[in-house]
Symmetry: C2
Subunit: 357 residues, 2 copies
C-alpha cells in the first residue's frame, strides 16, 4: 500500500493544532492539553481562554496523533462471517449507531467463516490499534483463541463461546429450537426434520440440542437422518430437503434454522409438489420479508436483532472503559447477556397428514 504523503492543497489552510490553540489562548501547550481534556489542574481563567480559542479556531484534535500517543484509537472492529447476511446487516446497523453516539468509528470485515481469514483480520485490526473487537461465530469455535486476544483487547463475542470469563451476547437458540419442536409435536408431528447452520458453531449446536431435548421430553426417538447441519447454503439445503421429501418415510415437518435454508426448503417442497401446511409444516428463523409475505405466511422463531447489536456495543464500551485493568483481569467480566427468542405463529403449521406418503 502506498504511503506517500498527501500533498496539501496550496491554498488550503493548514490544520489547526493544539499549538495554535495554546498560542491563541496565551498559555502553554501542556496547559491547553489539560484544559481540553480536563486531565489535570487548570485555572478557571486558562480554561476559559483555551476553550474560547479552540472554538474560535475550530480546533479538532487529530485522532491519529492521539492514537500514537495513547495507544487508543477510538475505533472498534467488527467481524462476522458474512456482512451481507441480513441478520448480521441489521445487527451491524445497531452496533454502528450505538458506537457512533460514543464517538467511536467502526471498521468491519468479513471472515467468510474461515479461521485463517479471521485471524488475519484480527491481526490487522490489532495492528491498527482498535480499542475493541466484536466477533461473530466463525468456523470451529476456539474459546481459547478469544481468551488469548482478550488479554490484550476488549473482546465481545456474539453467539459464540468464550471461555468462562468471556463477555458476550447470546441468543437462546436452544430454547428457540426447543419451543418450535414442541409446538410441532403438540400438533401431532413425530417426524420432524431439523435443518440448521453449521453444527461447529454455537447457534447450530444449541439448536440441535434444543431439538433433541424437546423430542426426549416426549419420548420420541431421534432419527439422525432428519438432522442436517450444513453451511446454510441455499442449494445445499435444497438438495437435502429434496432427498428428505422424496424418501419413503418422509418428515412431515421442517424446522429451517438458517438464513438461506428456508429458501432451499421452499423450493424443494414446490418441486416435489408438497403443499404447506397440508402436506408439510414449516418453521423458520429470522423474521424477514419472505416468511411474512409468503403464502402461507411462515411461522418463525424470531428475536430482537437490534438488541443484539446494542447489547454487544454496550458491553464492549464498558469493557473498553475499564480497560486499564485488562492486565490483571482475572475477575469475571459481566455475565454474558442472554436474549430469548419468540415463536411467531403464522400459517405454515398444521397437523400432519393422516396418511403416509
Amino acid at each position: 500500500m502506498s504511503r506517500r504523503p498527501r500533498t496539501s492543497h496550496p491554498d488550503m489552510p493548514a490544520r489547526v493544532t493544539i499549538r495554535d490553540v495554546a498560542r491563541a489562548a496565551g498559555v502553554s501547550l501542556g496547559t491547553a492539553s489539560r484544559a481540553l481534556n480536563r486531565s489535570g489542574p487548570v485555572s478557571e481563567a486558562a480554561l476559559q481562554a483555551v476553550e474560547r480559542a479552540a472554538k474560535a479556531l475550530a480546533y479538532a484534535p487529530d485522532p491519529i496523533a492521539q492514537s500514537l500517543r495513547t495507544g487508543t484509537s477510538g475505533v472498534v472492529g467488527l467481524l462476522v462471517s458474512d456482512l451481507a447476511n441480513p441478520l448480521y446487516a441489521r445487527i451491524i446497523t445497531a452496533v454502528e449507531s450505538r458506537l457512533q453516539r460514543e464517538g467511536y468509528a467502526m471498521v468491519v470485515g468479513n471472515t467468510h467463516n474461515s479461521k485463517a481469514q479471521e485471524e488475519l483480520m484480527v491481526d490487522l485490526f490489532r495492528r491498527r490499534r482498535v480499542d475493541g473487537l466484536i466477533l461473530g461465530p466463525c468456523e470451529v469455535e476456539r474459546a481459547a483463541y478469544l481468551e488469548e486476544i482478550s488479554r490484550e483487547l476488549a473482546v465481545v463475542a456474539m453467539d459464540r463461546d468464550f471461555g468462562a470469563s468471556g463477555s458476550g451476547v447470546h441468543v437462546d437458540h436452544f430454547r428457540g429450537a426447543c419451543e418450535a419442536c414442541r409446538y410441532l409435536l403438540d400438533l401431532g408431528h413425530t417426524r420432524i426434520a431439523l435443518m440448521t447452520s453449521d453444527a461447529a458453531l454455537r447457534p447450530g449446536r444449541e439448536r440441535i440440542d434444543g431439538y433433541r431435548a424437546a423430542l426426549a421430553e416426549r419420548g420420541v426417538a431421534v432419527d439422525e437422518t432428519l438432522v442436517r447441519a450444513s453451511r446454510s447454503a441455499m442449494d445445499l439445503s435444497f438438495s437435502d430437503a429434496l432427498a428428505l421429501l422424496s424418501a419413503r418415510n418422509r418428515p412431515t415437518a421442517f424446522i429451517c434454522l438458517g438464513t438461506r435454508i428456508l429458501s432451499g426448503v421452499l423450493q424443494a417442497t414446490r418441486q416435489t409438489g408438497h403443499r404447506v401446511p397440508d402436506d408439510v409444516s414449516l418453521v423458520c428463523v429470522g423474521d424477514g420479508d419472505l416468511p411474512q409475505l409468503y403464502s402461507p405466511a411462515i411461522t418463525t422463531i424470531s428475536w430482537d436483532l437490534e438488541a443484539v447489536g446494542t447489547a454487544a456495543a454496550e458491553i464492549l464500551l464498558r469493557a473498553i472503559g475499564s480497560g486499564e485493568d485488562r492486565a490483571k483481569a482475572t475477575e469475571p467480566r459481566g455475565q454474558p447477556v442472554r436474549l430469548t427468542t419468540q415463536l411467531v405463529m403464522r400459517e405454515s403449521c398444521a397437523p400432519p397428514p393422516a396418511s403416509k406418503t
Copy 2:
C-alpha cells in the same frame, strides 16, 4: 471518549519497532526504513540484512505512526443511507473484499438519509484521515458538496450525482424502469403505477424519467396520481398501494422500485383480494428471496450488486493512487462507470383483466 493509555500486559513482549529491526540488522534507522519501503538507495547487503531481521523479529510497521507521518491512513470510509438494506449490504461486502486485497481497512457509517448526519460522518472520517470516501445517495443530492470534499480527498459516488468531473458508478435505472414499463405496455397495460424511492435521489429521478419516456414513446399520457415517489418505507407503500387499488379507475400494474416497496404492495393486493397476475401485474427491483420464491415469482429488474461494489472500490483505489495530483486535479477523472439492469421475466405479469374493476 476516553483516551487513557492502555496499560500493557506485564509479561507481554513490547512491540517490535523499526528500531529493533535496524539494530538487529546492524544498520541505521533510516536505512532500515528505506530498505523496508524500497524508498531510496540501499545496498544489496543492507537490504538483505534488514529483510532477514524484519522476518526474524516478525516486524510489522505501525500503521498509526505511518499515518501520523505520511498523512495517509490506509482506511477508506463508506457511507450509505442504511447498512441493513440488503442491496447495500451486498455492495459493501464486495467493496470490503476488494479493498482488503489491497490492504485497506473500511470504516462504515449510516447516514439515515440525512444531510446533517452525512456531513457529520464525512467530517469524522476526514479527521481520521481516511484516504478515500465512497458515498451512496443521501437526501437531496448536492453535487457541489461532493466536488468540495473531493478537492481534499478521493471520493467516489454510488448512484449519486457528482458534478461534471466527479467519478462514480451508476446503475442505469432510467433504462431499467423504461424497459419494465415497455414490457407492461406490450402486455396491454396502460394504467401502470410507479412506486419508487425518493425522487430527490438519483435512482428515483431516473426511474421516473424512464417511466415517462416509455409512456411517451407509446403516446400514453402520464396520470400523475399513479406516480408515487416515497421514502421506500413499507407501510407508506402499503397505504399508497391500498388507496390506488381501491380507486375507481385502479391501475392494472405496479412497478415497485424500492427494496421494501414490494412488500407493501404485496400486502395491499392481498388485503384487497386482487390476484397476481390475473388482476394486477407486478414488477419489482432487487433480486432477493422474496421475488424469487413468492408465488407467483415476481418479474424483477436486477443488476450486479457485486459489480457495483467492486467498481466503486477500484475507482477509489485508482483515485487514491493518483492522489498526489489532487490539488491540481481539474483534469476530468475517468468517466463514471455505468452498469445496466436486466429484466428477469417471471410469473407476475399478464395482460390486464378485460373488465375494469
